[in-house]
Amino acid sequence: MNGAANGSADPDLLWYRDAVIYQLHVKTFADSNSDGIGDFKGLTGKLDYLRDLGVDCLWLMPMYPSPFRDDGYDIADYYSIHPSYGTLDDFREFLDAAHARRLRVVTELVLNHTSDQHAWFKQARSARDDPRRDWYVWSDTDDRYSGVRIIFLDTERSNWAWDPQSKAYYWHRFFHHQPDLNYDNPAVREEMWKVMSFWLELGVDGFRVDAVPYLIEREGTSCENLPETHAVIRWLRSQLDAHFPGRMLLAEANQPPELVRPYFGEGDEFHMAFHFPLMTRMFMAVRLEDRKPLVDVVERTPEIPATCQWGIFLRNHDELTLEMVTEIEREFMYEEYARDPVSRLNLGIRRRLAPLLEGDRRRIELMNGIVMSMPGSPIIYYGDEIGMGDNIYLGDRNGVRTPMQWTGGWNAGFSTADPERLAQPLISNPLFGYQAVNVESQLRADHTLLNWMRRLVSVRKSSHVFSRGSTTFLKPANHRVLAYLRTLGKEQVLVVCNLSSSAQAVELDLRSLAGALPIEMFGKSMFPRIGELPYILTLGPYDFFWFRLRRV
């Protein structure tokens, strides 16, 4: 079936393996028509900025019509654009402009559920014998699948919700206004492929597939990661490969890596999947000043097929998830990163990167330095490249979805509407507010976070060793130093990070690399040639080095 699964066929088909992805929300990125809500015209105007940042791919959060009770993840119509964001023509224009700048575009695909405002659900609940009735999961009692956990513990009390109209319960794994689609019904699968084809025809380069593990329900199971779910995905993937080679599917499965691994299948399910625990463990390691949690999780991560790739990230639009950690680890993370209970949500912390790290530039750089040198395709959450702040008092996860801060002027340059009309209020505190943190001012100086991020991305993209190379941890006796070797063929990069707030000395056993000349990749400066003796490095607080190892 697949030209895409065969890595040697056309390297361009595997573009996602080397990509640096930028995640953004159309609603809060740029507003062109002064209605306080971002739109595709506004976004199109900012594409040069994104190209200059050096990213390869944009991941847009849901832009479909929606009642916005879950920030667009409750889709009311799969075939059009939310009117506030513009028209389908605006979207086509944006897509062409992005492709012209060699930027690919990945959109959201919510397979698991729809909004209860979707026409399908309205029809399904209208009568028990309606043909659409079986598109959702219904029950007369609320005790089926009783062992299944509830994900949004803070808001939902059951996975079943009562529909007074048709006098029955419907199944929902997320909010009660998001009824789960019934994938046991072939008609639902066919319809979803139709949805995908619609957007792929338009030129979309891939989908980020939301809430993957929950597609199918079976009594007596956790209703997560079922084999039947995998079958649905394999079918969708085969359709994709047959009709649209080179397009990509990215799975959102918030699970430990060994449970995510099946979603890659034999290279016949997802192309990419997020590595959630890596994110949590990076924060843990820096706070503990101990590489152990990070090394543990990477070493526990199973091998994936050559055509697949991990999606790795520091922060995204959701809370920093603590679902997959132990009780002790969660307690630690809460105490270290979320002293203020308001910043805790469900089993996680709703904060952006910069406030999590107390605006500490050195730590922000270190964390970005780690995520950009780890195996996987790094994802930058919009605003984190300039160190934007958040507003934990906005409810749900809206605090990390405030408008992009372009300038220090009116509405941060996001919109010319009245501030009261903005889709989300701006951050305006003295530390992270738009007057202090914005693109315009950071473009003016060389040493700003934004310019540093541009350099980081360009160095990262200077070699495929970061995206495709193997990873070997060195484990020096000093546990505050994280050191690993990335190897791809003859190319080798040595990464050494000081996870602690104090200067550290480390002795690396590099005998196997004797004779190599380390060249620091940012400043291109030479370091002493590696010999038989322990290689001694000293690193300042939160310092890190990327060395290209050359043989001369």
Partner: protein, 423 residues
């Protein structure tokens, strides 16, 4: 190794890698290969279970074992303790095994551990003996937590055991130390303890380390230093202490001489601190209080026979130089009174001990001879006490032991008198 340094370059490299720590557990060893594994396991489990978020390190200071003790510890590297995921330490747990240099004995091992702890800025330190077969993770927790959470500087353990057990402690060391020092420590000689950074820094400044006390009396010295130095001290329940039988362990007589010699020597060196003290103070118990009954079984006692009387006769010429005339006469009297079963009363025993201490201080003969001459009397007294108490329940025995302590305190003026006579 740099001249005059306590720490080898290798150890320093290890410490550099370990960096600052919160909890440091030290284990001095000398040929403990058979038991060290259990102790090290208990320590690592404690790290995972009770200090999962703390920076931890285990340091073994070895006196030159030839049975592979160090290999056992090195074999248990940082990654091998991942057995229980629930109680998994978040951080890297380091294990260091290093030989110590200098005078052989526990003092040098402790000095090395404390110096390392000082460099690592350990917030709390616990030291465990390598031969304890009954050490559990809770031991480490009880010794460390009062330091970590309640800002105590020195934590002495309370072992749960039958009150008739360990008579050398209950008949001699505990009451004598209590009366002389004025502090009610249940285990002044405990080989285990917990302490703070502040305390160990103070200890390292003292000049005990090349002194003869460092060899056998360091445990007692630490207790005394903590108490006299005005540090915040507490006691903590750790459970029964079962020492593993190891070949080559010194016999009772040697142990007696080391213990009693150390007690006398320590009290002599620190005389200025206690001579004027009157009465005694309690030391708070951190964590659950002692039940006072103790576990363990009452030791079986057989009759003493006539050895006491014979010993007295044989040693008369030596004892005459040590004991007052009245004391010697009374001893002879009790020896004659009960040939099969002697009755050695508290008051006489207290007088005996005090006169021995005075003789030790005056230097009427070589000091080893003074302590050796006490052995037959101690055995007589112990036998007498055991026979007398064997039919009573633990609470009653505990009461009798307390009465002995009180008698020691009551007679303290006479000790001070013997003391001042000599000086």
């Amino acid at each position: 190794m740099a001249e005059g340094s306590l720490l080898s370059d290798e150890l320093l490299r290890h410490l550099m890698a370990v960096g600052q720590v919160d909890v440091l557990v030290g284990v001095p060893t000398l040929n403990n290969a058979s038991t060290i594994g259990g102790v090290v396991n208990a320590v690592h489990q404690a790290f995972g279970k009770y200090f999962p978020r703390d920076r931890t390190v285990l340091i073994n200071s070895d006196g030159g074992s030839v049975d592979g003790t160090q290999d056992v510890i090195r074999g248990r590297s940082q990654d091998q303790t991942e057995t229980v995921t629930v109680s998994h330490a978040l951080r890297t747990t380091h294990s260091i095994s290093t030989p110590y240099h200098g005078v052989p004995g526990k003092g040098s091992a402790l000095r090395q551990i404390m110096t390392a702890a000082d460099l690592a800025q350990a917030k709390a330190v616990a030291v465990l003996d390598a031969d304890v077969a009954s050490a559990t993770p809770e031991w480490v927790a009880s010794l460390v937590q009062p330091v970590r959470n309640q800002q105590f500087d020195y934590v002495a353990p309370i072992y749960s055991r039958h009150p008739l057990d360990s008579p050398l402690i209950t008949q001699l060391v505990r009451p004598l130390f209590r009366a002389a020092s004025g502090w009610q420590v249940r285990e002044p000689l405990a080989a285990e303890f917990g302490c703070s950074n502040r305390f160990l820094a103070h200890c390292l400044e003292q000049n005990v380390w090349d002194n003869e006390l460092a060899r056998y009396g360091i445990d007692l010295w630490l207790t005394a230093t903590a108490l006299y130095g005005g540090f915040r001290c507490c006691q903590t329940m750790v459970g029964p202490r079962v020492a593993a039988a190891a070949p080559g362990r010194p016999g009772f007589r040697e142990v007696f001489q080391q213990v009693v010699g150390s007690v006398f020597l320590l009290l002599e060196q620190q005389a200025s601190s206690w001579v004027t003290r009157v009465g005694s103070e309690q030391i708070p118990i951190a964590g659950p209080a002692a039940d006072g009954k103790g576990d363990g079984q009452a030791p079986g006692v057989s009759r003493l026979g006539s050895t006491f009387r014979d010993d007295l006769r044989n040693l008369e010429s030596v004892l005459r130089a040590i004991l007052g005339e009245g004391t010697l006469r009374e001893l002879n009297a009790i020896a004659e009174a009960g040939v099969e079963e002697i009755r050695y009363p508290d008051a006489l025993w207290v007088r005996t001990v005090y006169e021995f201490m005075g003789a030790f201080h005056r230097g009427v003969m070589r000091r080893e001879h003074v302590t050796q001459a006490l052995i037959p009397l101690y055995l007589g007294r112990t036998g007498s006490f055991l026979v007398e108490q064997s039919s009573r329940n633990p609470a009653e025995v505990e009461g009798a032991l307390e009465a002995l302590c009180v008698e020691f305190e009551r007679a303290k003026p006479s000790l001070v008198q013997y003391w001042n006579q000599a000086t």
